[in-house]
């Protein structure tokens, strides 16, 4: 290898180490990436749902708030939002909202992790709001009306009738959002969160072998997103169930009752 006239040689040994034989801090960084992505996505979906419902609310103030929120978040760079939450919160509140170490449920988390997760969630919420809104819009008004007509209050008809159907439209783009979220967590390296990307940055600055580190970290992200897409396919197949009755096992009512209909045996 050393005889090849290459300016920078690819260090296969280091590369292999990074892929197959990470150190303890590497696994910690991997876990941090995953749990930040999951928590930020869950919070983002909740925020998005609240925003989508607010956007359809008869109360004008709610609609205005939802509109402003999505406008500002979708119109500014996410890295600015992350910096704003991490540094800005402390500045405007006059005290350290995100200190270096935070005790939370017995875990020692860095303030940067919390601030970063919140920033990602706020960003995600604005995009999820649009996705959820178009999902709700895709359900025929007659579905909600049929719920109202049998005496459901609006929120119950929304929850039991409209949202389960909207979910079929929401889930595919939601899956893509999570795929994107896994990768976007890398931006938190810039506020000092020790996640996958930060781990390779630290390694590269110690060894000056950027390519080995960044290609290996790219493969790790690729593995995470690929695993996720497998999960996504399963979820989507499940959601499409009522279109293909032959794929159905037991209907929800039978699960509740613990009985299997004769025909299904």
């Amino acid at each position: 290898m050393s005889s090849l006239p290459v300016a920078i040689q690819f260090d296969w040994e280091l590369f292999g180490e990074r892929i197959f034989n990470g150190e303890g801090v590497f696994w910690e960084a991997l876990v941090t990436t995953v749990y930040i992505a999951v928590i930020a996505q869950v919070l983002g979906v909740v925020l998005g749902l609240i925003t989508a419902l607010a956007a359809r609310s008869p109360v004008r103030v709610f609609r205005a708030l939802a509109w402003t929120y999505t406008l500002v978040i979708r119109g500014t760079p996410i890295i600015v939002q992350i910096f704003f939450v991490y540094f800005g919160a402390n500045l405007f509140l006059g005290f350290d909202l995100f200190p270096r170490e935070v005790g939370l449920f017995g875990l020692a988390l860095s303030g940067a992790v919390i601030a970063g997760t919140i920033a990602l969630a706020i960003n995600e919420g604005a995009y999820m709001a649009e996705i959820i809104r178009s999902g709700i819009d895709s359900v025929d008004d007659g579905q909600l009306e049929a719920g109202l007509a049998v005496g459901m209050p609006r929120h119950m008809a929304m929850r039991r009738i409209v949202l389960p159907q909207a979910a079929r439209v929401i889930i595919p783009p939601l899956g893509n959002q999570f795929n994107s979220m896994i990768k976007t967590t890398s931006l938190l390296a810039f506020i000092g969160v020790y996640e996958l990307f930060q781990d390779s940055q630290v390694g590269y600055s110690a060894t000056f072998k950027p390519v080995e580190y960044f290609v290996s970290v790219a493969l790790w992200y690729l593995l995470l997103t690929t695993l996720w897409s497998l999960v996504q396919v399963r979820i989507e197949r499940r959601l499409g169930r009522h279109d293909l009755p032959e794929q159905r096992e037991k209907g929800p009512i039978w699960r509740t009752l613990g009985r299997v209909p004769e025909e299904a045996r």
Partner: protein
């Protein structure tokens, strides 16, 4: 006139079946829990279930309802006919609070719709909860069925009893199975709506409305979205329901059905009631020019 039964002059035929103790008619009592001959105790036949007064409604600048007043009595079948755009469907939707009226009053069972009485006795606009409670008393059957596609026929029917009324799952399922039998769809219990024909879907939708045990059933062109060959099965179920003594308001283009099953026909045009009367009178000798013109076109 297509489906008029010979020797069965209109709604009178239904009352006649209901009066005689030994009548054997198709489907008599099939859809009612009680024998059609016995009026519920303390219940005056003919008491108004629906009482609408001067109902007005506009969508933007378009006046859709322009002072509609109508009483519907207990066990009565009122069929609303008229050209499209007459406001029939909007009026029906107002009766179930799916549309808000701009002015006028609608009382169902003596209760003003969309209103609630405050402690001081004053009437105020009802909140979401009271509106929902008022709707439980009124069944609504949509032109486009609106079955919930993510639930089976049975699940569509038990949904409201379980989640709105709080009925136990076991007994709700039992009731639903009985209702499915009554609309002749027992074997489709576990079928999803996508696997049912239009007529079957509409019959499940009727069963779904009946599961809440409504005092009044509203039908919004229930057969207009159906294939011609499935119209009959839905109309038959509606007829059986009428024979069972259900109070019904039926917006329909099926003149044969209106003539045969309706106790009273209401002709609407341009947001007003043009004329109303017994079917034999209205169809044979309409008083108004507008009614004549309409009937000439459709009969």
């Amino acid at each position: 006139m297509r489906r008029a039964r010979s020797g069965a002059p209109s709604g009178a035929f239904r009352r006649r079946l209901g009066d005689g103790p030994t009548t054997v008619g198709i489907g008599v009592g099939l859809l009612s829990d009680e024998a059609p001959t016995t009026a519920r105790p303390g219940e005056r036949e003919g008491a108004a279930i629906v009482s609408a007064r001067e109902v007005c409604k506009s969508f933007g600048r378009t006046v859709v309802l322009d002072g509609v007043s109508l009483d519907v009595h207990r066990r009565e079948v009122v069929c609303i006919i008229g050209p499209s755009g007459a406001g029939k469907t909007t009026f029906l939707r107002c009766l179930n609070l799916l549309e808000r009226i701009d002015s006028g009053t609608i009382e169902v069972n003596g209760q003003p719709l969309g209103m609630r009485q405050e402690n001081g006795g004053e009437w105020a606009p009802a909140g979401e909860k009271q509106q929902a409670r008022q709707r439980t008393e009124i069944g609504f059957v949509f032109q486009r069925f609106n079955l919930w596609p993510h639930k089976t026929a049975l699940e569509n029917i038990v949904e409201a009893p379980i989640h709105v009324r709080g009925t136990e799952a076991e007994s709700a399922v039992e009731t639903a199975e009985r209702l499915l039998e009554r609309v002749h769809l027992a074997e489709k219990r576990d079928a999803y709506p996508s696997r049912l024909s239009g007529g079957q879907q509409q019959r499940v939708a009727i069963a779904r409305a009946l599961a809440m045990n409504p005092k009044l059933m509203l039908f919004d062109e229930a057969t207009s979205a159906l294939d011609p060959e499935t119209v009959r099965e839905v109309l038959d179920v509606m007829k059986e329901l009428a024979l069972g003594g259900m109070t019904m308001v039926v917006v329909t283009h099926e003149m044969g059905f209106a003539r045969e099953v309706g106790d009273r026909i209401v002709m609407m045009s341009d947001g007003r009631i043009v004329e109303e009367g017994a079917p034999e009178q209205l169809f044979a000798a309409p008083r108004e020019e507008r009614t004549k013109r309409f009937l000439d076109k459709v009969l």
